[in-house]
Amino acid sequence: SDEDFNERCAQCSEVNWGLTDGGRFYCRSCHNVTERTREVVNTDFITNSRVQTISKGSRKQEENDGGSEWYICEGFQLVLKKQVEALEALGVCPQMKDEILCNFWRCYLQKSKQAYCKRPAPETVKTLSVCESSTDVDSDPERPSLLHLLSLSESEGDLQTDCSFASSVSKVSESTSVYSGSVDGSLYLMKNQKEKLRMTMPMTLSFCYMALLWVREPITLSELLRYVVEGHIPYLNVFQHFPEKMKLCGLDLKIFCVESWPVYEEVFDQMHELAAFLDLPRFPDITESCFLHPDMLCMKYLMEANLPDELHIWTCRVVKKIGIGEVDFLTLVPGNKSTRKVKYDVLAVAVIVVVLKLLFLLDDHYEWLLSEYAEERNKNNTEGGPYFEFKKWYEVVKHSLDVKQKKLDEERAKYLWRCEKPLFYSVKNKSKVLKRRQMVVNLQNQFGKLSGSVQCAEKPNPSSFQLSWSEKNTDGSCFHGHSLKGVLQEKRGLLTAMNPDYWLCTVKLCNEKLCGHLAHYKEVEFPQSYHFVLGLFSFLLRVQPSYIHDEVCMIEHKLFNKKLYKKLKYNTVLRSKKD
């Protein structure tokens, strides 16, 4: 019964209920609003000390649904807050939230003329007072209280929409006029995007990545995105944490409700645009002691790929040779168009791929030959670490990868995209949406009972490693300690590769600015071993194999360009002499 509503909150299991103006219970810990309403005025109820009524804020209330006025940027501010808090929980330095991200955000609001700026006289101005409700949205005292709207006269920009959503929106707009729950939802989508970098959901991650890079946290972009997908960082359905009074409606959904996962390239590019837009100075130096330095990352990825530790010397040599470990190469200078932006994680795995090509050639022939040789040696040799056998490594890693890939595919297919909070474009179809939602829940319950596996309620702890190999395992599945003796030879006191050859992935690089890629990857045109290695790292980083291939081509270009150039010049000189 209603008088003692002491049930635990479905979301956070707290018993800490408040009452909204609409007479609904909401959880004061997590702001989850229940379906339960106080229908009968009961005197006993008021005496219940656990429930407090929230008074209306001073904001103007809309007549029908009890929501208050709010602006799109406030929504994004909330999203960012949730995300950075999640990052804090993952262990990033506590200064990141208040000192770094918060300042970036303020800077953005100012640069995009949404706050902290002198308002142009003829335009409409709305003053927002701080909401007095007991929600924690406004706990940040620095919250911009002055926002100004753009006039409608601006030409309609291209509406960048999530394609799966576009159809539904257009359909809705046929019947209902365009509107939103927020004050500026409709204006927001019409803004000219070129002029002012418009906030989008993927952009919130660009903000996070920028802040992480600024404080040089040991998280790569691919990792950040993986944590997002795994649910450790709020992204999908993050709007369900909005306070009850911020009603999401109509076009707001198009802005906040995402139906696809962020893509590496998009977040990466937008971060650089954003850094330039904000006129940020040179970022803190990425030195050898930083996690993002290729030498460090190579170590991590060598471990994860179950490759011998000895390879690290070789990755370091390549890094040094082509100067990609230099501070100036690695450090981000916003707005500097002459340098290529560094994808630290992709770069590191590409270095490993190049090293593997240097030592094993990966031409579907030589690596197996070396492997046979190593196998022979291992049979006779029991002293010291075993020789690294490519074949064994391939079998072990391939098996593991297949299992993980299958699991990942199934998880993706089983992913639940919808949250408890129902979304509707207009009040008109609210009841329909609610009914439909209820039916989905019913069906989920019905078939959930019939499904074989028990749904695991808790998500696994976030981990930097997706594959792990331990030398403690006696089954010989860990190759970290294996030696490269079979593939190296000593020449004048220096260890060099036995392999005298090399094949280039491409002879000429494309123009990245014109073509969008440095190189073009077609699986069939390359050896299968090479493809396997790309596939392995593609799985670890959750990026396209072609993405890594581009980077491999870039490294090869740097490594061999001089040699090729010299040879070419030498030949032409010879030829011209003959003539």
Binding site: E259, S260, E410, K414, L416, M439, Q446, S451, G452
Partner: protein
Amino acid sequence: MDSFLEEEEEDEEAPTVVVAGKRRRRSHPAAQAALQPPLHLPFPPPQPVSSNEHKLNFKKSKEACLSYIQDALLQKQWKRAAEFLTCYVESLEKDYSREHIGPSEMIWRIGTEILWHHSQSSMKEFNCFMEQMKTLGVKRYLKVCLEHVFHLLCNGQIDEAYQNLSLAESWRFGEQTAIQDKEMKLIQAYRGLLDYYSWSKQKNILLEQGEDGFSDLAVEQEMHGYFRKAAVNLKEIIKIPGVWDIFVKCYVDLLEFYGDHNEARQVLNEYAYNSKFPANPNAHVYLYQFLKRQREPKKSLISALKILHDIVPSHELMIDFNTMLQKSKKRKKRRLGLEVIFAALDYAGWKENAKAWSCLARQVKQIVVSDKHLDWIKQEWNSRKDWWPAFHFSRYLAKRNWQEDKSLSYEKALVAGILLGKGCKYFKYVSHQGCKAQLKRFRMLKKFVNRHNLVYLKISGPPDSSVQP
């Protein structure tokens, strides 16, 4: 009722590229341009989304989920299918698809299948699911109702099925009711069928009571009530062109019981001969059986079976047909009889049917003895002489037939001996075995074949102008 997601399907026109405008500008022939038909380009294949392959979105995720479900269904992994369906149902909330089969229909079909086969599922849960599915799509409301009824019937819940049919019959939903007119007719027809079932039960009670010498007026009244209800609905459905075997049979049964033979005849004639109805062998079977019950003259029986022979030459009634035709005084009919029995034996199903072989043997023997119409046999044999020996008259079959069915092997040996001569493997083996067992009729058979051994030369020779009919 929730019609929110049942959007009208819009026909998307194929993209047309009009080249006329461009051509006009380039050079003079405006007139020629006007003559140019618009160029219809086929749809290009979907763009490979190479750069977005790793981009996972709602739609892709649900598509993948669906294919997992289908795999599980094919392998009868009901638990696994249920597990994935649990995740798939979300797509209901975004069911804006204009595809022919949208998520809601998928969920209905797949869910039904899972609940029907899953070991932990119960009829109660099944019913609950079906009720939800009924509210999900107005456009297929009656279809879902009907399917529900079928499952109830499979489960022996006849009263519940009847209730559901009555409920569905009273469904009204604006123009949707009119659109689903055909489904409604089916609903009514099945209700009629269940009424017939009740009628038939009452009838049996009465018949039993009649044997005991007393009758119950109330039961009889009830029975007539069922008759009226059943007859109204059954009559309606069989007016629509279609295959309504079960309905027709029941309706005719009702009519015959109440002595309305004219109506029954009319119904069956309509069902068999109305060209709007799809070709249906059973329609002719029912008509034939009715005519036989009515002791109609041979002529009408033969004409009913003639059509059946044209549609299904291997039908079991072809024996009856042949028997009737053989007895006929008309030459043409006897000729047809031979054709019918030869045609029937072309089918593997008849291979070991002693009755059919005896029909053929009798007619062939008769022709040989009378020495008239050998050309009939010749004509029939002509198209079969290449494959019948291997198909019917191999040594292996001779052995097996002899072991399994002596009289079959006798009939077949007779036919083989006449068609292929006394040297044929089948005949030789069987007659040898028969004589060894000292069976009199096999000895007679041997004699008969020896006496008419020249026949096979006549019938297997090239078409001879002298033996034209």
